[in-house]
């Protein structure tokens, strides 16, 4: 096997320790790379060392090196025992893949073990069942319209790229030199648009953004309903200026919160109020709207002690229009334990809290955290990437398309642009289906009058 593969060896979700296994020729080199260590790793001994993410320490881990052939797969194997955090686990896999490893296919470790004589025929039967189940599931998935939305979206990209490739190939294979030269600017903007689609899709992968950069939650609501108090209650100290005078918060205030190892970025926005005459306040409100735009999650705060105002009603509608997930936070349960604001029935998620006595805050934190592991929320159209292999494929495709743009810009030759567009199509092959040379010729001959 020429490739080196990696995958978590423990079940996803919260656990004290998570294990990542790497197998293949480059295992030891990858181990040296991520631990930035030149030291020898004695075979089959646990070594305590730091795992680096660039210059910074990602985690401390117990690593074990199993040189071939005395390992699970019969190849060089490295196992990382990390702390049980989704972020650390996901990030290490990303780092390994960026350094040349490939995410393992279903059953691939066992597959390699079998081919290297590490498994008997009986055990292999179980492996075959696993692979064929996956084969069928993937096949069914591709066929089902329900979960085929990802492949549908990628098909759009694929078709656009296939069309582009035909444009390039037609010129490369054009004997008569009949074809008009490629419109560089137009082609480039087409490619950039496809790269953008891929980039946005890659962003939906949890390890990609929410876990790495943190989940952005915007706190919105009418003036003086307790937004800053909520921020402070969540973060635990008085960061935002709190006063009874409504509209005190004019700048958006950002705080980072660590919830069970997960980074949450809270943004406190200015109270949104009609007829803001004070120019500073108008400016503050613009920022609030921007903060909502950027947020992954909106915490809509309402005051239980009073009726909902028409402005709040309008704001609720505005927030709904952004298609972002919203948690309705009903504040001041201490003053009005039986209060209602009228939005309860319309909110998908609703939590009652008291910023004063801390009631309900734990529940709210749990609610916020639940969005981190539900990354579909960050995809506007609900199309999302759900595993590392898909992520890697989409990311590779994006890189290829961007490289093609660079080649096009520097006029390095259409054959090199074609090389990258082919690379992008190859990366998308498993997700969106193959584009064969014959398909490309089909497009060429249906579009261009070529040949002798």
């Amino acid at each position: 096997m020429t490739t080196t593969i990696c995958a978590p060896a423990t079940a996803p979700g919260q656990s004290a320790v998570s294990l990542i296994r790497v197998s293949g020729l480059d295992s030891l080199a990858l181990l040296h790379k991520v631990t930035a260590a030149d030291k020898a790793f004695p075979p089959r001994e646990q070594v305590f060392c730091r795992v680096y993410d660039g210059q910074t320490v990602l985690d401390t881990a117990l690593v074990t090196y199993f040189p071939a052939p005395r390992s699970f797969t019969g190849e060089d194997v490295v196992e990382f025992a990390l702390h049980g955090s989704a972020y650390i686990r996901g990030r290490l896999l990303e780092i390994l893949c960026a350094a040349g490893a490939e995410p393992a296919k279903r059953g691939e470790f066992s597959y390699r073990a079998f081919l290297n004589g590490k498994m008997d025929l009986l055990e292999a039967q179980g492996l075959c069942d696993l692979i064929s189940a996956g084969n069928k599931a993937a096949h069914d998935l591709a066929l089902s319209s329900l979960d085929g939305r990802l492949s549908e979206k990628l098909s759009g990209v694929k078709n656009a790229l296939a069309e582009s490739l035909a444009q390039l190939e037609a010129r490369l294979d054009d004997v008569d030199e009949e074809m008009p030269p490629l419109d560089t600017q137009q082609t480039r903007s087409q490619w950039l648009a496809q790269a953008e689609v891929l980039a946005r899709l890659a962003d939906t992968f949890s390890v990609g953004r929410l876990i790495k950069e943190g989940l952005k939650a915007a706190i919105v609501g009418a003036p003086n309903c307790g937004k800053s108090s909520l921020l402070n209650a969540l973060v635990g100290f008085d960061r935002a200026i709190v006063s009874d005078q409504s509209g005190t918060t004019r700048d958006t205030v950002e705080e980072t919160l660590d919830l069970e190892g997960q980074k949450i970025i809270l943004t406190d926005t200015a109270g949104i109020r009609e007829h803001a005459l004070d120019p500073a306040e108008q400016e503050g409100m613009k920022r609030s709207l921007r903060a909502i735009e950027k947020a992954d999650l909106v915490l809509f705060v309402a005051d239980l002690t009073r009726e909902l105002t028409p402005q709040e009603e309008a704001l609720w509608e505005d927030v709904q229009k952004t298609n972002k997930p919203v948690v309705l936070v009903l504040n001041k349960t201490d003053c009005a334990p039986q209060g209602r604001c009228g939005l309860e029935g319309r909110a998908q998620y609703c939590v009652c809290v008291s910023c004063k006595n801390g009631e309900g805050l734990a529940e709210l934190k749990k609610q916020i955290l639940s969005f981190v592991s539900a990354p579909q929320m960050s995809a506007q159209d609900g199309v999302m990437i759900s595993n590392l292999r898909q992520y890697q494929a989409v990311l590779d495709a994006q890189t290829e398309v961007e490289s093609a743009c660079v080649r096009l810009q520097s006029a390095s030759g259409l054959e090199l642009c074609a090389e990258h567009i082919r690379g992008a199509l190859k990366a998308l092959k498993e997700l969106a289906g193959e584009v064969t040379p014959d398909d490309v010729l089909g497009i060429i001959f249906s579009k261009f009058c070529m040949g002798k």
Binding site: M1, T2, T3, K105, R106, G107, E108, Y111, F114, L115, L121, A124, L127, C128, D129, I131, S132, G134, N135, K136, A138, H139, E169, R171, L172, D173, D174, V175, D176, E177, E178, S412, G413, L414, E415, L416, A418, E419, R422, G423, E430, E434, T436, P437, D438, V440, L441, G442, I444, F445, C449, M450, G451, K452
Partner: protein
Amino acid sequence: MYQYPNEYDVLVIGGGHAGCEAALAAAKTGAHTLLLSQSLDTIAQMSCNPSIGGIAKGQIVREIDALGGAMGLVTDSAAVHYHMLNTGKGPAVHSPRVQCDKKTYQFNFKHTLERQPNLDIMQDEAAQITTSDGAVTGVVTLRHTLYRAKTVVLTAGTFLAGTIHIGEEVFPGGRYNDMPSNELSKSLKALGLHIIRFKTGTPMRVNARGIDFSKFRLQPSDNPLQPISHFTDALQQSKRRFLSCYITRTTEETDKILRQNLNRSAMYSGKIHALGPRYCPSVEDKTKKFPDMKTHPLFLEPEGNNTEEFYIQGFSTSMPEEVQRALLKSVPGLENASITRPGYAIEYDFSDPMDLYPSLESKIVAGLFCAGQVNGTTGYEEAGGQGFVAGVNAARKTRGQEPFVLRRDEAYIGVLIDDLVTKGVNEPYRMFTSRAEYRILLRNDNADLRLCPHGFALGTLDLKYKHAFEKYQRQVELLKADPRHVIDETDMYPWTAQKVRFHVDVFQKYAGYYERNRKDAEKLAQAENIVIPEGFDPSAVKGILIESSQKLKTVRPRTLGQAARIPGVTPADIQLLAIHIERYRRLKHAQQHV
């Protein structure tokens, strides 16, 4: 019936571009070889255009040449015009094309064959392939002579049940004026081969006496020129007499005539049912498919030194003769030209290439190899490449040697044959650079580096070049490693210092892409090394998708790599296959060691 006393190792049916390379290659490796042809006067005849090479095809000629085939050398010996195509684009797509004197080409090729030791040539027509126990035993000819042979290479071109169409006129023919081989076609069907029908076409030829060349754009021969063979001296070659080609366009009048007479074309009158190539459309096809394009390019090529005939590329048609005359008149400069031979469409039988192993041996009849147009391809170069491989493999089979198979990252010939036997054809197959996933590796400038070592090992390439070639290889490596390296040119001829520099320049330009392609190619080589054992039925593996299973049954891949390239077969299918192949191997091993 007369039985020829000797048994041949390799018997080649057909003396076209595939047959000639097949016979030559087989004989060079030491096999006792016979070439049977209907007529010795049409051996290696250029039936269609008077040029060799072209985009992607030029690379194939260079590959045949590097392996020790004759197409490149004969082309240079008959050259009247050199043109390197695509020089405005990257070196990976530079393709040589050479206009030839058609008669010189065919006579020189015939002469090359006549001088080849181990090779007999006989003018007779094969009528039946004889078999015993599913393996070939020989060939019976129209004269009722039986030639016994251990292997047969079938290279019948378009002659199998060929039918020619000119407008409403229909008559049998393998090529204009030559009789088709109807008996042979029947014999192949009786052997169980799957016979399908294709069509192709050729344009009219005209007499230059009536052509006003001042109306055309002149395309002179390249100066300096690059010979198409690695072994031809460029300086000597440049002293030859060259002819020019001409470029012009059809007119709106042409378009009008085509439109008015569309239903009279054999293509559209319902007379032809077979599939034609999309990339080599007749001029009426172009009009029908691209109504917005009112004019189309025409390329006028001289047919040779001792003739006034010109070939008009772009005017391929099966219109009635009088329409062809009108078409000609509609082009400025050709108004007064007279047609010497009308264009025509030809329908012919070919044998499904999915019935072949990558060695080009039939899965149905052992010892029968097929090459060229009988496999559903078009083009002299495609035919020559297959011919070489089929000839070598037929000879190797008689000696019990492993077949010679080129990988997709090694040669266009590898891409060509792999495509044919793995994916089959649904139109006459022509090579394009877009078919090669390793296009950056498969270039005109490195065909020698890629394939000469194979040529030496096979015994098809003259060993007198070995020392010079190895020197060239070393100089290339030295210059790659150190740009200040001073190239030592002694004892390197026909390779030169200039060639070393050019190759290394191209290599540097593509250095990053080499690495990319190399990684993929390694994976490919690995999968190619896993041979699917005899007796193992890949389609019977449990868990494989039903669609894949059916495809595996049809293609019967020889290696895991080939299986993976069958359209629709998933990576998981391949994993399952790998496990079962290993399982099969272990069980077999266990049985042998009870």
